[in-house]
């Protein structure tokens, strides 16, 4: 079946650095992608989404890039802050199917 996975299980950065979290997907028919942030003891929180007709989408301090050629999704966080420390999940869906979540990357931000 289709799968969504991440390259790095843990990413450690210094406060103020830019962070890049990567995600690979295998289903070329996926047309909608989402990034979630999950802090300890909380449910996943929506960060940003992108549809397959776009290559890039920006939010507040976050940018999602979609490379359909290599089936790769990334989340860029500018000026990373300690409050950004969390587990980040990518998720994908195809049409009206249910969301499939990737394995997650732990982002650790040190002051």
């Amino acid at each position: 079946g289709e799968s969504v996975g991440l390259h790095l299980p843990t990413l450690s950065v210094q406060e103020g650095d830019n962070s890049i979290i990567n995600c690979a997907y295998s289903n070329s028919a996926s047309d909608y992608f989402i990034w979630y942030k999950q802090e300890s003891g909380k449910g996943p929180q929506f960060i940003i989404d992108i549809r397959s007709n776009m290559d890039k989408r920006q939010g507040q301090r976050v940018t999602v890039l979609l490379n359909k050629t290599v089936k790769h999704l990334s989340l860029q966080i500018a000026a990373t802050q300690p409050g950004d420390s969390a587990v980040y999940f990518c998720a994908e869906r195809r049409g009206y199917s249910t969301l499939t979540f990737g394995k997650g990357t732990m982002l650790l931000v040190s002051p």
């Binding site: 909608y32 989402i34 003891g41 449910g43 989404d49 009206y96 249910t98 990737g102």
Partner: protein
């Protein structure tokens, strides 16, 4: 965005008992979903809770183990039955923002089975 209240937030249960988790949404939603998140793992969809009909279960999940109710468009319950230590997980309720759009999640229920 929808506000989702899920309770209990955590519970410790004995083997062989059951736990019912409640999910209340502040607006009417068509689609409600229940996810399981095992320790250190990602989210796995258990079932889609349908209002007025039986829930739709994903492969590996059965109604006898995870009965679901959906009496109206703002409320659902998930019961985890005949508990075993392997059921120790976080259980999450979620709703769809709109058709084919992002999901919003409750804060989860941390279940520990002794």
């Amino acid at each position: 965005s929808a506000v989702i209240s899920q309770k209990p937030s955590r519970d410790i249960c004995q083997r062989g008992t059951s736990l019912t988790i409640q999910c209340q949404v502040d607006s009417q939603v068509t689609m409600m979903f229940w996810y399981r998140q095992q320790p250190g793992q990602s989210l796995t969809l258990i079932a889609t809770a349908n209002q007025g009909s039986e829930a739709t279960y994903e492969s590996g999940f059965v109604i006898d183990k995870f009965p679901i109710s959906r009496p109206n468009l703002t409320f659902s319950t998930l019961t985890v039955s005949n508990l075993s230590p392997e059921d120790s997980s976080i259980y999450l309720c979620s709703v769809e923002a709109a058709s084919n759009e992002k999901l919003f999640f409750g804060s989860g229920t941390q279940l520990s089975v002794l």
